[in-house]
């Protein structure tokens, strides 16, 4: 929270300094343009929300430091949804109506779905770096975009991993939410096609103090591995209760547990050498990712970018570039060019490069820290995936699946 405030202060002062330095200009350029950052800063997904807000702010600060956009410097307004769609609608409306935000960046799946209609009606760009819900496969593509792959990809990589690992029997424990059930269904098909015995397929409700009843059948079957697709709260309880109940097999988790905190919450000794986590992730060998990682470390006392950080950075850069390409400081302008700036043309990897190329009349193809970000017809990108292993109390990259693995 402290770093966020520091960011805000720094941004505020840079906006003031820039307006003073630039002097008389067109009114719109002088006022700048507003991006709404709508993330969960509290609640179960609060850790992710902070990462996303910081990723966006890094991009915005970099853009402003390099002279801002042709619409002036970018100003951010941050609001906390707590992961709640109702709060999301209220805060987004406030951002659009009172703050004249041209883009709303960073909502989680449920909030994205709730905001899709508002975004289209008010012609505001709505973009998320981590909303994987398959509902957006229906709603996305016009004012609604995401710099992360659909959840279906998570299901595919999970199925592939469970098969490659050579398990003979697997149990599925899935939190009762659309975003966890959809990928689990894909993984389940893959497991069945591979001839692996599916001992249990249990969809549980989150928010329970205990999951002992749900675990009884799973523990009785003693599978080689448990595929656990749940939020942090339920997953931590499930893992502890299963271990206390005698489960000695391996685990495959979904992205909600891809944070270092799980080792403190669960105890590293329960996870080391037997737990894996899959997530849509950036290719760590990409020079663009490494450059971003260095930038992130230099601005955050040496912290590595967290999950979806690179996707958040790319999201802000893409929106700014689309605004440059359209020459309009509006959501409609951004929407008209957002696909073009990441499609065909000169490959650019930063906003400054892209702006320079656009000024020379070139077409551009932004490929950022998270890799290529060309949008399909549903406004979704194709992500690479990683599976990381729990080793000595940290997640260590175990296997990288390039985006091409899942393109049919």
């Amino acid at each position: 929270m402290t770093s966020k405030l520091t960011f805000k202060k720094r941004l505020a002062s840079s906006v003031v300094a820039l307006s003073m330095a630039l002097g008389p200009q067109a009114a719109s350029a002088e006022e700048g343009v507003t991006f709404g950052v709508l993330v969960p800063l509290t609640g179960e997904l609060g850790e992710f929300g902070k990462i996303v807000a910081n990723g966006v702010q890094l991009a915005v600060n970099q853009i402003n430091d390099e002279g801002g956009t042709s619409c002036g410097p970018i100003r951010t307004v941050v609001a906390d949804t707590g992961g709640n769609p109702e709060t999301g609608i209220r805060e987004a409306s406030k951002m659009i109506e009172s703050e004249s935000a041209v883009a709303i960046l960073g909502p989680t799946s449920g909030v994205m779905v709730a905001l899709a209609d508002l975004a289209k009606r008010t012609e505001t760009m709505l973009m998320s770096p981590y909303a994987g819900t398959i509902t957006l496969n229906e709603l996305g593509g016009d004012f609604v975009f995401r710099t992360v792959a659909s959840d279906l990809g998570d299901g595919a990589v999970s199925g592939l991993w469970l098969e490659e690992r050579g398990y003979k029997s697997v149990a599925f424990l899935i939190q009762n939410e659309e975003s966890t059930i959809s990928p689990a269904e894909i993984a389940k098909s893959a497991v069945e096609d591979a001839g692996i015995e599916l001992t249990d397929y249990i969809v549980y409700n989150p928010g329970q103090p205990s999951y002992q009843a749900e675990l009884i059948s799973v523990l009785a079957h003693n599978p080689d591995a448990i595929y656990l697709a749940g939020g942090q709260n339920s997953s931590v309880t499930v893992i502890k209760e299963a271990t206390a109940g005698g489960f000695e097999g391996e685990w495959l988790f979904t992205a909600d547990l891809a944070v270092p905190e799980v080792f403190d919450l669960i105890g590293a000794e329960l996870l080391n050498d037997r737990a894996f986590v899959e997530q849509a992730d950036s290719d760590p060998s990409l020079p663009e990712y490494q450059a971003y990682s260095e930038l992130h470390q230099s601005k955050t006392d040496g912290e590595d970018p967290g999950p979806f950080s690179a996707n958040s950075y790319d999201m802000a850069n893409l929106v700014a570039l689309a605004m440059e390409a359209s020459g309009e400081c509006t959501g409609a302008g951004i929407n008209s060019k957002i696909r073009d700036v990441a499609h065909e043309g000169d490959v650019v990897t930063t906003f400054a490069e892209g702006r320079a190329a656009l000024q020379q009349g070139a077409e551009i193809n932004y490929e950022g820290a998270s890799g290529p970000v060309a949008f399909d017809e549903t406004g979704t990108v194709t992500s690479p995936y990683t599976v990381s292993a729990a080793k000595d109390g940290v997640w260590v990259l175990e296997k990288f699946y390039p985006a091409s693995t899942f393109i049919e």
Partner: protein
């Protein structure tokens, strides 16, 4: 198969014991103060996080920390009762109920502001499993059962053997009559707030023992607490002991035959069925 069924039964009994401790205070408030205190569940959360702070941050032992958490929660409940509910009680139970939703939001927001994001676990060892005739039970599950048994027994003794307990019972039976017979209504009300909030505090201790803590986990229990309270009906608190076990066992046994996602539905289906057959709930008095 019989061991498997017994295993589900054990899980259900533990769930029931947690629900009993969580609901006793809620039912007590409903009987004496005459409204559904929605903020009761948030008091469980506050107690759980006080306990978490003392054990994890201050490094204290679990039991003294639990005593302090229960004590602070009891005093906080009394404070809220006096400052918020007492002045508006004259407007009727509906107004107080709605106000209690507001209190729940204030307490929840306060927890969010103090505790922050993410989830927390108690700094206590992983549960140890024991097997009796092939049926598994952990030490923490046994602790939850023991806590419910001791709470139920102590409350029964308190209500039947102490003057304060007897005045609370008189107030819950008929407040006007109790007042006319010289019972100090204000003092009894305060004792009730202390007791019911202290019971919420104990519920928070049970929660911290078995659950992973987040700022909203306690409030997520409110619907099941209400289900148990409605099933129990007005009247004796003993019906809460039965209702808690009925709901807990029914929810967990249902997983044997139905998808686990239907667990909460079972609790409310049970409430509807019982109320259709016996509108007064499990206790002898009408709601």
């Amino acid at each position: 198969m019989s061991i498997l069924i017994a295993q589900y039964l054990v899980a259900g009994v533990v769930t029931g014991c947690f629900l009993i401790v969580a609901t006793l205070g809620f039912s007590l408030t409903r009987q004496v103060e005459g409204f559904l205190n929605i903020a009761h569940a948030e008091l469980l959360g506050i107690s759980a996080f006080i306990l978490w702070s003392l054990v994890n941050l201050a490094g204290w032992y679990f039991i003294p920390s639990a005593v302090i958490a229960v004590g602070i929660t009891a005093v906080l409940g009394l404070f809220i009762g006096r400052v918020v509910y007492d002045p508006i009680r004259k407007f009727g139970p509906a107004v107080v109920l709605i106000s209690s939703v507001g209190v729940a939001y204030v307490l929840g927001g306060g927890l969010d502001a103090v505790v922050g994001t993410g989830v927390r676990t108690m700094d206590i060892p992983l549960a140890t499993s024991y097997r009796f005739f092939g049926v598994r039970i952990t030490d923490y599950q046994m602790a939850v059962i023991a806590m419910a048994a001791v709470t139920g027994l102590s409350l029964a003794l308190f209500m039947s053997k102490t003057t304060t307990g007897l005045t609370i019972r008189a107030m819950s039976d008929n407040p006007e009559l109790a007042a006319s017979r010289g019972i100090d209504v204000v003092k009894t009300s305060r004792a009730t707030w202390l007791l019911s909030s202290g019971l919420a505090g104990l519920g928070g201790v049970s929660l911290a023992l078995i659950a992973t803590l987040s700022t909203d986990i306690a409030f997520q229990q409110i619907l099941t607490i209400i289900a148990v309270a409605i099933l129990a009906g007005l009247g004796s608190l003993y019906s809460v002991l039965i209702a808690g076990q009925v709901v807990g066992i029914a929810m967990d046994m249902s997983v044997l035959w139905l998808p686990a996602g239907y667990r909460p539905l079972i609790a409310f289906a049970l409430v509807i069925v019982v109320l259709l057959v016996r509108p007064q709930g499990l206790s002898g008095k009408s709601t």
